[in-house]
């Protein structure tokens, strides 16, 4: 297929359709509004369903219903709206229903603003809602990856029967880049034997989709079952099948300072690394592409060869905690961030690097 010039938000929409997603439930919020607008037009063309819900709360619960009935289903929103969805995400994780949730992050807390930010990292990677659960969190850094990770997200969701969060931001949502779109895949709503309304001769008893386990022993057993599933996911992303998918390394082998950033920040960091190299500073970059499970292994390894780490985020410092946990005190980990909707420039970051490598 030829390359198409698309906005990040639209690329997610088209990729969802190509992934076999036929159900979208959402509520308008900036800066992700192009995504529901795209799907409102596109889904009817493929006999899909688009519903503009009365609230984010309703939208995520429609996702819960559709996912429990076997649909490949998604919703999208931006930071304040994702906060509203947390109740539903907790139920969806508890009931082990697959779905894709897109967060095109904007400045917070509260109503904040509509400019790009990365301040929902904790909410995304620590669960967000109540209870012992995890969501798989994918962090694209280009319009191409918005598409690719949308498709991968549906696959991960179905494979692990778990909600998957695509953590993007206002820059990625709004910017236009050429995208290579894959061939469409078929998805059969009747392919999940556990789903409500599943029809098959192998259905021997009725199906139930629930997150309530009133007996404490049963809930403990369920929570350990979820925990074990999360361990399997962690292993696959840290040393198994998706090891390479989980992290990008750039010029790290001989690097003395490792710059760390996810999403749009990694694009800026790549420029900073180039400029550092031209100036004789041995800099490298690590970009976590999956934020949960966090790629701790790469940091454990680089803590042996590099002398320091600089984490850059569009927040007051959230992912930096995971980097520190991974480096485990073996090397110093520094932080530079801009918050409230400001994107740091390569020049600002280069200044920070200078201060660290030339401390006088």
């Amino acid at each position: 297929m030829a390359k198409v010039l698309m906005k990040g938000n639209e690329a997610i929409g088209e990729a969802a359709v190509l992934a076999g997603c036929r159900y979208y439930f959402g509520y308008p919020i900036t800066p992700q509004s192009e995504l529901p607008a795209y799907l409102a037009r596109r889904l009817p063309e493929v006999d899909g369903v688009f519903v503009q819900a009365e609230s984010e709360v309703a939208a995520i619960n429609m996702v819960y219903g559709a996912g429990s009935a076997g649909a490949r289903v998604m919703t999208s929103s931006s930071s304040p709206g994702i906060s509203l969805k947390q109740e539903g995400i907790s139920y969806i994780a508890g009931a082990e229903v697959p779905c894709l949730i897109v967060n095109v992050m904007r400045g917070g807390p509260g109503l904040g603003n509509i400019a790009p930010a990365q301040s929902d990292y904790w909410q995304a990677t620590r669960g967000g809602g109540h209870g012992d659960y995890r969501t798989i969190v994918l962090a694209p850094n280009s319009v191409q990856e918005m598409a690719d990770m949308t498709i991968a997200g549906f696959e991960f969701a179905d494979r692990f029967r778990n909600p998957v969060l695509l953590l993007s931001d206002g820059v990625l949502g709004q910017m236009m880049e050429p995208v290579n779109l894959p061939e469409p895949r078929d998805y059969d709503v009747n392919s999940k034997k556990w789903a409500l309304g599943y029809k098959g001769s192998d259905k021997t008893e009725r199906n139930l989709c629930s997150s309530i386990f009133l007996d404490q022993d049963e809930l403990e057993e369920h929570n350990w079952h979820l925990y074990q599933k999360y361990q399997v996911v962690t292993d696959l992303f840290s040393k198994g099948e998706f090891k390479d998918f989980a992290v990008e390394e750039h010029l790290c082998d001989d690097a003395e300072i490792i710059l760390v950033g996810y999403g749009i920040i990694s694009r800026i960091l790549k420029t900073v690394v180039e400029k550092c190299r031209k100036r004789g500073i041995k800099a490298g970059m690590v970009r976590p592409k999956v934020l949960w499970p966090f790629p701790t292994g790469v940091f454990e390894r680089l803590a042996k060869t590099a002398s320091q780490f600089l984490v850059v985020e569009m927040s007051c410092g959230q992912m930096v905690e995971d980097v520190k946990l991974s480096v485990d005190g073996k090397k110093p980990v520094f932080f530079f961030g801009r918050t409230g909707g400001t994107v740091p420039s390569d020049f600002e970051i280069l200044n920070e690097v200078d201060k660290l490598v030339r401390p006088d």
């Binding site: 309703a58 619960n61 219903g65 429990s68 409500l196 309304g197 199906n207 139930l208």
Partner: protein
């Protein structure tokens, strides 16, 4: 002399013993739902959505697929299910705290979209599961855990009339309020629930049946006294009747 079986458990009702308090109306209303599903021969494609509240375990008492929804969100969950599997018969079973308080937005908008689903709304004017707190449908002066001096209209407003509100919307095709305080009303309630499912089976749209019911435990009354109290106090506030019947399903019957 040959014997004929004239009364038995509906096939859609499971053998699990009800956990409900003695005298509670939920068991009877569950049975009416199961009878409707059986009579319409749709058990193999029915999906229920259980609420949060006393009937949170409703899924245990039926023999078909079920989702257990977050508090108040059953109509949104049911929307997702029905849109995914339009051939299914989808219903929510909700109490007054679930439907008329925390889930007001979800019920109003599912009704307004005209989702082709059935809602069974059990209104007993109190939160049962949490131990008897004031509900949006509690009567003026009604004493509960959270209205110990009686519900005061000045600070807590008036009992909310969900059927009347929903009947103002254009999309719903059937909105009715029934009760099961005596045999005649029980038979009317059975008919109403059957109508509501029949309309869905025919693809006609959103049907809403409010059942005015008792909560002997949290009302602090014996079941018979509770039904008497319901008749004398609740029915004047929540009058029985059909507020909307677009397809004339009651006349046709």
């Amino acid at each position: 002399m040959t014997m004929k079986k004239v009364f038995s458990r509906p096939a859609s009702l499971s053998k699990t013993p009800f956990h409900y308090c003695p005298g509670c109306d939920h068991g009877v209303i569950h049975r009416l739902v199961a009878e409707a599903i059986d009579e319409l021969e749709v058990a193999d494609r029915t999906i229920g959505v259980a609420p949060v509240g006393c009937s949170v375990f409703a899924y245990d008492y039926f023999n078909f697929d079920f989702n257990q929804a977050p508090h108040g969100r059953a109509p949104a969950v049911a929307t997702g299910i029905k849109r995914t599997r339009p051939e299914s018969i989808v219903f929510t079973y909700q109490g007054d705290g679930d439907l008329a308080a925390i889930g007001t937005a979800e019920i109003i908008h599912a009704a307004n979209r005209g989702e082709n689903m059935t809602v069974v709304f059990v209104n007993n004017a109190i939160y049962g599961m949490t131990g008897g707190q004031m509900a949006p449908t509690s009567l003026i002066g009604m004493k509960t855990q959270t209205s110990p001096y009686g519900r005061d209209a000045a600070t807590a407003g008036h009992p909310i009339h969900m059927s009347e509100m929903i009947a103002t919307l254009e999309s719903p095709v059937y909105v009715t309020r029934v009760t099961i305080n005596n045999v005649a009303n029980l038979m009317k309630a059975k008919k109403a629930i059957l109508n509501a499912f029949k309309l869905q089976k025919e693809g006609k749209g959103f049907a809403f049946v409010e059942v005015v019911a008792i909560c002997p435990t949290n009302w602090g009354k014996k079941p018979a006294d509770a039904h008497k109290w319901l008749t004398e106090n609740m029915l004047p506030v929540f009058p029985l009747g059909t507020f909307k019947d677009t397809h004339g399903v009651e006349k046709a019957a």
